[in-house]
């Protein structure tokens, strides 16, 4: 494994693509701590010098050695982002993908850095969540419009059918359930009885749908890039991040994930934005699609199962010594919250 500094390797990578004989420097290189899955690096690229110097901000996403969504393959995510780069959707322009391990040891892609900050779904000390009431009133409807835009993408025309198209009907939901059950099985941790109870219910209540759309897969507070308004200007959504779970499926899977109790940030608001019923009304208005409560109930429960599968995978990587990252260890004491969420959604506990 090369010990050459990351900056130097990035300079060589970009010189071959953007240099054209101009001097090129990588500055302000920093690794993000927010993402628990892929490794994320921020940096500035300086092209040229003197009066002609140009500065561009980029983000590199690299496959981790081991992690929450292993086995990793960045290419589908890159291909989707690349295909959507010119869209009005606030997805970052994503020009480069590199699989050659000689460059950064593991595959990575590079996208343009968008302005804004990423409010995270942790409960703050004030208990007010990440947004003010005024911000919520603007961002809630806007984020549902953006979600509706993602679901309206003509994925066949964009050549995104490499994402494995499910057959209409029950296969759409059944395939997702099977995918996450397989992850739980691979992690090979003793399943909590409450998880088994939820899986049995899900298998018996697989909904049907004929709607197959692009599904972001991780559309929720923590993946929204927001520019706060200043001087009375309203906030705006500048980016939708982390497309690593993108697939083709039921659009209500995205809605249920966004509205899940996982992302309330200590508030009663779905993704810190609006009460779930109001968020559903905004999505219905933006998409023209009914938020079917039966499908949403299935995907709500599946959302918790998905998060448990992700945590089991991280715990397994930690236990096997493949992920020397203590953030994986904290999942061991995060799981009880998810088990309680399952118990609530299954109505064994009051509160759902």
């Amino acid at each position: 494994m090369t010990q050459e500094p990351l900056e130097d390797r990035l300079v060589r990578f970009f010189s071959a693509r953007l240099g054209a004989g101009r001097p090129l420097r990588v500055t302000d290189l920093d690794r993000a701590t927010e993402g628990f899955s892929q490794e994320t690096f921020f940096f500035t690229l300086e092209l040229g010098d003197g009066d002609t110097r140009e500065r561009r901000s980029y983000v590199a996403k690299r496959e981790p050695e081991a992690g929450l969504l292993e086995p990793y393959d960045l290419e589908p995510e890159f291909r989707v982002l690349h295909a959507l780069s010119a869209d009005p959707l606030p997805s970052p322009a994503t020009p480069f993908f590199e699989r050659d391990p000689a460059v950064l040891e593991r595959p990575f892609y590079v996208m343009e850095r968008l302005p804004g900050e990423v409010p995270i779904p942790a409960a703050g000390a004030s208990g007010t969540g990440p947004f003010s009431a005024e911000e919520r009133a603007v961002l809630g409807p806007e984020l549902m419009r953006r979600l509706a835009e993602i679901h309206a993408v003509d994925w066949q025309a964009r050549g995104l059918d490499f994402l494995e198209t499910p057959a209409p009907g029950a296969e759409v939901a059944a395939r997702e359930l099977a995918r996450w059950e397989a992850r739980i099985a691979r992690a090979a941790l003793p399943p909590a009885p409450v998880l088994v109870d939820a899986l049995l219910w899900l298998r018996r209540h697989v909904p049907e749908t004929d709607e197959i759309t692009l599904v972001h897969g991780d559309y929720r507070l923590g993946n929204f890039l927001i520019e706060r308004g200043s001087g009375g200007a309203p906030p705006r959504v500048t980016g939708i991040l982390d497309w690593e779970m993108v697939h083709l499926g039921d659009p209500l899977e995205d809605f249920a994930w966004c509205a899940s109790v996982l992302w309330r940030a200590g508030t009663p608001f779905a993704s810190g934005l609006l009460p779930p019923a109001e968020l559903a009304a905004e999505y219905e208005k933006a998409s023209g699609r009914r938020v079917d409560p039966e499908r949403v109930r299935f995907y709500e429960l599946l959302s918790i199962v998905k998060m448990i599968a992700i945590m089991h995978t991280g715990i397994r990587a930690f236990r096997d010594g493949r992920a020397p990252d203590l953030r994986m260890a904290i999942f061991d004491h995060q799981l009880p919250f998810l088990h309680a969420a399952l118990a609530m959604l299954r109505r064994w506990l009051p509160g759902a």
Partner: protein, 157 residues
């Protein structure tokens, strides 16, 4: 706990040594970190999950399984057979060590859920409700021992 205490300690030590120590330049901080590693390595073979927690979980599971078995006895022949299996599994769970007892009862619980799921009759609903009572109670027991999360600090660094 999905990570046995000794594996948790091993993982902490490995991460601190391989990932955190190389990033520390302060001699004081490095010395303190070495002390943490030393403490953890010596704690490794002296810790285990609290017996009171294991006992509470095992007792609750055994009680729920007994009530589920009782409910199934009022049902069809298939339900009665399931009741016998559940009662036998509870009786077969070792009394100690408590971790083994908890593990065996959880396995019996999972099998009971699957068995009851395959039945479609009122006795199965009553049995399922009995098991649900344990699922709810255990969820609460697991949460009350947890400390406030540092997730925001962990995320922000």
């Amino acid at each position: 706990m999905r990570i046995p205490p000794e594996e948790l300690v091993d993982g902490c030590v490995r991460t601190l040594q391989e990932r955190v120590l190389p990033a520390l330049s302060s001699r004081f901080a490095r010395g303190q970190l070495y002390a943490v590693i030393d403490v953890l390595r010596n704690l490794r073979d002296r810790v285990e999950e609290k017996s009171a927690l294991l006992k509470a979980e095992a007792d609750s599971a055994a009680d729920a399984l007994a009530r589920a078995s009782e409910a199934l006895r009022a049902g069809s022949a298939a339900a009665t057979a399931a009741a016998e299996e559940i009662a036998a599994a509870v009786a077969a769970a070792p009394a100690d060590p408590l971790a083994s007892r908890r593990g065996a009862l959880n396995e019996a619980f999972v099998r009971a859920l699957e068995r009851i799921d395959a039945l479609s009759e009122p006795s199965a609903d009553a049995a399922h409700a009995a098991l649900g009572g344990h699922l709810a109670a255990q969820a609460i027991r697991d949460i009350v021992t947890l400390k406030p999360s540092l997730l925001e600090e962990i995320s922000r660094g």
